[in-house]
Every structure is written in C-alpha cells, then in structure tokens.
Amino acid sequence: MRHTYFRKTSKGVEMNEADAVSWQDRWRIQMEDMAARSDTQYWNRRAEDYNNFIVSSSFEYGERMAEILHSNTMLGADSNVLEIASGVGAVTLPLARRAARVTAVEPAQSMADLLEENASAANINNVSPEVTDFATFAAQTQDNAFDLAFLCHAAWQFPDAAWLIEEMSRLSSGHCCLADTMGQGDPENLAMQKKLGINAPEVDRPFYLYNVLNELGRPASLSNVSYMMRRSEDSARSMWTNLVSKYRTVSEQDTEMINEHIATRSTNGVYEVPATMTMMWWKA
C-alpha cells in the first residue's frame, strides 16, 4: 500500500506520496537526454526545414496564441514582451503585431537570421533579437524588466524547469506563459509510427510542466490550441527520415513507406497534420 504524508511547504501543507519523485525531478530525468540531443548546433542544422514548417503554416499557432494572450489581457499595445527561444519567429511576429516591443532571445545564429528575414518581410520593426542563451541573458537583466515572459516549444532545453519558471517570473511584472506540443497528432500519424516500428511516443511535456508549476505554488491557467501543421513534402520527408534515423539506419523499405505516407497526406505539394499546442500561463 502506498502511504500518503503531508509535507509543509512555504505555501502551506501539501500532500505527497512517501516514495514521491518530485515533478521537477521527473521533468529533469526525461529532458536531460532530449536537451543533449538538440543542442545549438542541432538547431542550426534544423533551421531551414523548421522555417519551412513555420512559414508554410502561415504562423498559424503563433497567431492563435497571441490572440489568446491578447483576449485574456496579458498582451496589449503597450506591452514590453520577452520571448525566450524565439526560433525563426513563429510566435514572435504575431506577438510583435500586438505589442510595443518583443525582445527575442535566441542562441542559434541561423535561427536569429531567419527571424530577422521573416520580420522584415512582414514589415515588422519592433523585434530586438538577442543572440545569446537565456541563462546569460537572464543574468544580465533586472527584475520586472518585461510585462510578459513567453516561451514556446523549447522548454526541453531547460532540464531545470523550476529555474526556468522562477527566472521568467522574476523578469516579468505581469504574466508568464509556457507553450508546448500536446498529444501525438492524429490516429493516422500514430499508425505511421507503428508501421515504421517506432515505439517512442513523445511525453506530453505540458502535463509535466503544468504539475511543476503547481508544485512551485504557481497554479496556472491552461488552454489547448489546435492547428494544422503544414510543410513541404521535402520538409516532411526530412522530418520522418530524421525520426527513423534516431533509432536505426533508414532502409529502402522505410523510404518507400515514408514516401507513400507523405503522398496520401499532401495536397498540392503541402503535407498537413493536425496538431495541438498547450499554453499555460500564470501571474508573475
């Protein structure tokens, strides 16, 4: 039988299991491995195909998220926004359209270059890229420097989630928001993984982050954003091939299967998969 005990914390008494591994530790264990495999160099290599996905998807999830932040009064024309790990600007540009300024912290130079390209193509001039990692940036930035601190689709780079959450909270005088992919796509996507013999469903990172937030005494609001992931057939091919090569050498048969799958899911050269992003926000 499991025993329950009650632990006193600064926030009062919390329930815990006697053998409990904290949510923070569970997150760290799962993400350390992932963080090691997707370092800055990895993202420098991936910049091109990732950019294809964001641009082909017309910044859809970024638009939806910025809209939710706006309608929940966390983002407005006066807002001074910090975005951590902005990539090529999937959310940066939609945020910038609704804010006074977005400071975009991105350590990978090729990502930052594409962000600047995308911003100028969209006639957006209130984005300030900072090509550095978040720890360095945070160490030089004072408390409450921003009204909103935001991070999307990069939390796995931070095995120490508590540090990330507390730093975001320190830097924002208003709200903070984390967003990440939820779920395994649709049944068709899962069926394809099965067919390739890949049995590695990704963990739902938002579920862990959400509980870490609660563990830190920061209960958060949570909203699911569904969108259509769109990319060119080439970009989709490279995505699936990369996935298989994480587990084994890609065989001819794999390539055939991938091509067939992409053909059935593409229209006019564009590959489409429904996906979900979960946003979690809290008062700093």
């Binding site: 329950t4 009062g12 008494v13 919390e14 939820m182 209960p219 958060a220 609001s221 699911n224 569904s226």
Partner: protein
C-alpha cells in the same frame, strides 16, 4: 510508462486521501455539517456580488450558447445558479441539504430568478440515464471532494452533458482556504487532510484521455467576524471536540484578521472544463 500517466494512480491517490480524511472525523462532517453551514456559507458566496460564481460564469461564457442548459451538482446557496441565471442560462440544481435549498430559494428570489429546477437529492442517487445528454454544461463546484469515487462521478457528469463538463476546486494548495496555521495550533501534529479537487481532478482527467482546459480565477469574499467564526468552529468541530480554549483561539485569530468588523479574503479557484466524449470532436 510513468505511473502518473495512469488512471489507476490518480484514482488510488484520490481514494486514499478520502479515506485518510474520513478517518479523522469525530464530529458532524456530512449532511448535518452542511445544514449548519448553510447560512454562513450563503453570506460568503453572496459577498462582492457573487464574485465567485460570476468569475466562473465569465470563464465559461465563450464556450456556451446564449441560453445554456446547466446542471449544477452541490449547488449550495446558489453561488453559481444566481450569476448563471442572470446570464440567461437555465440551471437545474442538485442539492440534498434542505437548509441550503432554503438559502438558494431566497437568494434566487432576491435576484429575480424564477426559471430553475431543484433536485433535492444527493448526486449519487440522481438517475443520470434519464438525463442523458440533457445539458450544455454539467458542473460541480467544491463538491467533488466529498465523493470517494471521483472517476465514476466525473463520468456521470459526462453522461448528462451533450457538450461541456466542469469541476471547480480551490487553487491555493491541498488545504485551500485553511492554511492559516490554525490547524497545527488546534490539532497539533495530526497531519492536515487535503481536499482540493485541483490538481488531482485535472491529472485524472488527463489520464482518462480528456483534454481539460483550466482557468485560475481570483475572487473576493467578505463577511462578518461572527459569520467567519461560526464557519471556523464548524470546520474544526469535524476533527476535534472544541474546548473553551480552542474556541477562544479561533475567535482571536478571526478577529486579528478583520477590519471594520469584516473579514476580507482574496481567494483562488481553478475552473477545470472539458468536452464530454458525447460531444464528438474534442476541441
């Protein structure tokens, strides 16, 4: 697989917490408790123009039709029925405590709400099959913690809803609303039992394959010192025989937190809502 992704894990944890709490009760903790609490509870919920229920109504408004049909399980004094009635929704209230129903009727009348139904019964006895898919929203606020079989009760909410389900809980930790240090002052080393629906209900729903959304809302209440003392004494009388000295401790503590003979409190609640599987497409 991480055990925390399994329904059995959250189910077990919930039951265990329920059993621990029940084993600590020495005084009236069930229906008699709510009968005795009806009046002070009503005062607390009406405060600041039904701030609690109004915030919940605001969260759910964008997701519901203009004339929504709502089931409110454990509706109490109309905390949510009144603001939802004012929003133009039609509420069916499940409430077993006659004193609560009396408060509810008085509050509804005062607010000019006539079109509502009361089912004067415990929720476990309500025949959900006869209400199958009847409501746009099946909701329960600060009531699920009283049921040992959370999963069954969540599924019963899903049965009666054709669209949304919602569970409201505290969001100030396990002992939401009672973490002012009085517990250890009165109960010594006895561990304080938890009762918040949040985040346990969220985790269970996630493990059940739902995609719940959550909004954390801040709300205020205000009530007389007398009413707050009444509430505190009834709360601790569930767990211990109050003595003159513990009663005195409670009174002093409440008075110390009052200004102008009123106790103001700023609280947090979690509004967890999700699509009933009946609704077909989940978000």
């Amino acid at each position: 697989m991480d055990e925390r992704l399994s329904v059995a894990h959250w189910d077990g944890l919930w039951e265990q917490r329920w059993d621990t709490r029940e084993s600590l009760y020495v005084g009236s903790a069930h229906m008699g408790y709510w009968q005795a609490r009806a009046e002070d509870f009503s005062v607390g919920r009406k405060a600041c123009d039904y701030d609690f229920g109004r915030k919940i109504t605001e969260v759910l408004t964008p997701f519901l039709p203009a004339k929504a049909e709502v089931l409110d399980v454990g509706c109490g004094p109309g905390s949510i029925l009144v603001p939802m009635g004012q929003a133009g929704w039609r509420v069916t209230a499940v409430e077993p405590a006659e004193e609560m129903i009396r408060q509810l009727r008085a509050n509804a009348e005062l607010a000019g709400i006539e079109d509502y139904t009361v089912i004067p019964s415990i929720w476990q006895d309500v025949d959900t099959e006869s209400l199958n898919g009847h409501f746009d929203l099946a909701l329960s606020a600060i009531t699920m913690w009283m049921f040992r079989d959370l999963r069954t009760q969540l599924e019963r909410l899903e049965t009666v809803s054709r669209d949304l389900c919602c569970v409201v809980g505290g969001a100030g930790g396990e002992t939401s609303g009672h973490s002012d240090g009085m517990w250890s002052a009165i109960m010594g080393d006895v561990p304080q039992p938890g009762y918040s629906e949040f985040p346990l209900a969220f985790n269970l729903l996630y493990a059940m394959g739902r995609n719940p959304e959550v909004r954390i809302v801040d709300y205020s209440t205000k009530r007389s010192v007398e009413s707050k003392i009444h509430q505190q004494k009834l709360f601790y009388a569930k767990y211990t025989q109050l003595t003159p000295s513990t009663e005195r401790m409670i009174e002093d503590n409440v008075m110390a937190s009052a200004s102008d003979d009123l106790v103001h409190e700023n609280c947090k609640a979690s509004v967890i809502f999700w699509k009933s599987p009946k609704a077909g497409v989940t978000n």
